[in-house]
Amino acid sequence: MPETKAIERRIVLANLDQPGYTPDIECYLKHGGYASLRKAAGMKPEEIVNEVKASQLRGRGGAGFACGVKWGFIRADEKKPIYLICNADESEPGTFKDRQIIDRDPHQLVEGMIISCFAVRAKLAYIYIRGEFAGGARILQKALDEARRNNFLGKNILGTDYSLEIYIHRGAGAYICGEETGLIESLEGKRAYPRIKPPYFPAVLGLYQCPTIVNNVETLCNAVHILRMGGAEYAKIGRPNNTGTRIVCVSGHVNKPGYYEIENGAWTLGQIVNDLAGGVRGGKKIKAIIPGGSSAKVLRMGEVIKLRQKQPDGSMAEKEMGILDIPYDFDNLQAAGTMSGSGAIIVMDETTDMVKAMNNINAFYAHESCGQCTPCREGSLWLQKITDRIVRGGGRASDPGLLINVADNIAGRTICAMGEATAWPVQSFVAKFRDEFEKACEKK
């Protein structure tokens, strides 16, 4: 691991913080915008898919699914309409990256979407944007209008025989709409109940029972850069299987909370927190870090992580390290028993009451459970009820065990991944801070 100070590598965020950079199309064009689309217009759709496959781009929404593989699910001889949906329902607690792109560099997203739609032969695409992003929706609408006026969108794009329409659909304030099948149901005008699996992938049966690609905002933006530099070149950024850059959102008790674009795997969690985010406020010690949005399992300062890493020669080796030494990318955080998720790093210092923090997270999931399946609907509320009573001094000695029990009964037992999102924080908080929970339960 390099001992140098962590630095950003801005690709997606390259322009938006530049002084004088504006979200209009003139500014975007001045900065080389839509060049990738022009390039794409001269390519065949499958060539673009191959470039994306070569780039090894993984989804930036949370699950890290290989984007090229997802696109590859669309059959070449597909007769049904194909849809593409940009998932802009950014609502994982701690995450605030997509909105930067939407608000300040909307054309990058629009260009990425058009390229992606062309690659998967979608003629109609939607941006499903979080309801609270009212301003963002307006900005995007303006960007779409501008793109249409410039023949980047609409009929016969850039003189080709390819036509595309993109519509914006605003959500109504539900976390579950970020789950891609819940999102699709919502887009269809229904209650956002996630769909039962199988079918496992919307790419097989999605919107209106047609093949549908759902990608995150940041993922789609990367398509612009993959086309610009070529898939193979893009794959050189980051590490194998963890290519490209990643926007991380650092929040909590740090001196410089904010978004930072880093090369995947180039820096450790500690380097990000200390070098980029300026370390912990008031020189306090770190107590815990949630490395990938509130549903990721928490890491406790001082715990020893046994990290199985792939060695340059391809063999696997286990290495013990502290949490700050974990290189930040998809595979290493997964190997550490948690996940990079949506890239939201939440830092908690030594003054943090972990039970209260847990209660806060539980309140969120209880509020956001869609209510479709029982373990999550009833369980999420009971998790909150239990931590709530502990916080209020009504805890029972059996409560920590009960929390684990309820959570175990949710994870893996529900229709969508929100079950895991609800259970993982509880399972990890109670397991790693059991002493604090037990002490809190004694308090009357």
């Binding site: 699996k197 199988p198 459970s369 029982t374 999420s380 239990i386 009964n409 229709i415």
Partner: protein, 938 residues
Amino acid sequence: MPTFTINGRKIDAQPGDTIWNAARLQGIQIPYLCASANLKPYGSCRLCLCEVDGQRGYPASCTTPVRDGMVVRTESPKLNQLRRNVIELYLSEQPEDVLHASEQLRTYAAQFGLQKVRYRRSGTSGHHLNGNGHRHNGHSHGKTDQIARRDYKVDDSNPFFIFDANKCIACARCVRACDEVQGTFAISMSGRGFASSVTAGNDVGFAASNCVSCGACVKECPTDALVEKAVVQHGKPEYTTRTTCAYCGVGCNFDVGVRGGRIVSMKPVDASPVNWGHACVKGRFGWDYVYSKERLRKPMKRVGDQWVECSWDDALAMIGSEFNRIKKSHGPDALAALSSSRGTNEENYLMQKLMRCAVGTNNVDNCARVCHSATVSGMMEVFGTWAATNSLNDLEKTKLLMVIGANPTEGHPVTGARIKRALRRGTKLIVIDPRRIELCRYAEVHLQLKPGTNVALFNGLANVIVSEGLHDKKFIEARTENFDTWLEVVKKYTPEAVEKITGVPAEKIRKAARLYATSGASMCAHGLGMTEHKYGSYGVMTLCNLAILTGSVGRPGTGVNPLRGQNNVQGSCDVGSVPVYFTAYQKLSDPLVQAKFNDATGRPLPERLGWKVPEMWDAALEGKLRGMWVMGYDVAQTDPNLLKVQAALGKLEFLAVTDLFFNETCKYAHLVLPAASFVEKDGTFTNGERRIQRCRKVIEPQDGIIPDDVQMIRVSEMLGYTMNCTTSSDIMDEIARLTPTLAGVSYEKLDRGFGLQWPVLNMAHPGTSVMHTEVFPRGKAKFAPAEYLPPGEEPTGKYPFTLVTGRVLHHYNCGAQTRHSGLIEFVNRDILEIHADDAVEHGIADGDMVKVTSHRASVELPCAISERVPPGQLFTTFHFPDNNLNTLLSSSADTLSKCPEYKVCTVHVEKIVKKSGKRNARSHFPTRKRDVHARILV
């Protein structure tokens, strides 16, 4: 067919089936709450979790498709623990009084070994959920549960069931049933997470929502959150008896639940090939008239102006002596009887046997005369049959449905729901109706013709099909005759010419014709809008012409299918309770029939053809008809030109009426006898798809009521003729012996499954679902040319409106049953529907009382502005006797069948202005919105 192993047992599954359903069909029980064989997989309760070799976690068996060779376990200590935890979560929020927690949850709790709920809610006040599923903020600072808990008000607004959200487990089976089965989308899940709850309409409660009270939600509810009020009041059924509904001609099968000798529920039968587990408000809940206090319980005779109770012996003897007296002095043809198409086949057969053998006259008719008699005469002409060519199950196979003069979502709601399901699967729809009925919303094209112009419209459709070469030349060549003669007539009916007559734009006629001719499988379903016209029979012929023109008959998913109004319209005529035919329309003049009849009954068939219902009134007024027995047919409310009917009844020397209630006809009677209701007797009904089905005695007749069949057998005895059949099964055997198309029918066979669809030619014959596959009864089908002739009345300056009558969902015909049921809470009076433009022109506001006047009479009705009627038309119902609505109508009837022209009557309308001031009599109109809502907001 995939084969898989479940708990060590190898079983087969249908391709695409789920583990849960495949197991269920093999009798393997997997615990569940949210799954239902009637609904799409959902997977929310997580009780049916299973273990699959090679698969991570515990997938829900109700959503996991079977894969060939998969190995599944549905029982293990781990699975039991998971299930226990789910039930524990449910119980933590159920009402604390354990007796009130759902029975199913308590059963599962015991099954999974749940001893104690670890997270019982505490009694301190916390944040309650109100009825909207939103959280109140309580401001308590107690140390325990401060978070939301369920505390809902019970919704008891529906007359028949309650919804207790506190018992709800949010499995959404009710919502899914409303969506997937009924297609009304009246209820939905609202709120989210823990606050998820079922909401009716726009959170207005069940009664005020667009709920049609079909009961599908109640049937699906696994926790009794939705439960019948009768069950709450009387308890759950101890046993059930299977029977057939006695409302409309769909003929739904029900299991009647009985507790302590009392009926407490009627549940539709899942396996029924007629209703497939679905029901409508009338069949599901409207049986409570059986226990109405107003039911006739003792015979009564008129003494002066008084009604005096008399014994059954006296009553029956009185019919015997009066009939004997009139027969002796005026001959047998001075007597007549009317039986009921609401009665059983056996009762109808007995009535004609009584008249033909004991009295010696053919003067017997039934209420089918006034609804589908024109269907019979029309179909006879073209096909040589008198019944639906296809089956209800053909709705699954048809590609295009044409609904003509019928409003299935109200008149035949179970078929209506089934049509809507077919439409959601992609079946196309043409609606031909003067009114904008609910189905119009889903139609490709709605031909909104002027009432009484059917013949012109169908000729026009045929014209387009022929002129565009879309007709089935092969079929016409092989299986029809008279094409060329017919063509000469049809040629004149160009779409433009037809537009002038019908008011339907020519382009729409073309569109509908093309759709009908080219779908591949086009099916027609028609109702009384087809038949109740002056040229109703000709209308039916022109419809049948279309079917043979395009080869849309004799194949699955095609045909001409009358939607029968009453439960036994088909059967009452099939068994010969008609004045001009014997059973199955065998000609009375046929020597073979005469011989057969004589052999079986020991009496000759009377020679003179009998009178049809309208002819009976003429005969009575002329003094030729002097005595009548009317059974289950309220002629004084339902026949047209009521003043004439009432005058005719008043002239009779003797009138006996057998009915459930003291109806309008009773007012003219000399003797009134109680009848047994459909749950108090054995018999059969024949539904609109020719299916003969058992009606079974569930409870004994109340208060010693002598059932109708016994009444007739005893009267026959007094007239000197002993009926040689006493049980209903014997009667059916006799019918079978005398009727070729019913030759293979017996109770033993009927009881084996869900009845038999005639023709059933012999004991080995399985019945017939699609008729005319090879030949028509008349050999080749005959194109029947028919010219358009105007209806009996056309709008004039004095009577500018055309009044159309029909029915609403919650009532049935004259309302004899439904007015004595909780159904009255939905609709308690007839209302006149008027288009907004006409209302404005006549200064009428919603809710005003208006006077409707025809050439014959005037009636007063409250008025509602409705989108369902076009300008120049009015619509109302005749469910309520107090309006005497049918006094407006003329005696005009179908020229062939004498089916009255109910659908066309010209009137004028004026607002009733109170004499005392300028304000109109608005106060008469109930402010309850339900009456209006029930018809306008369908």
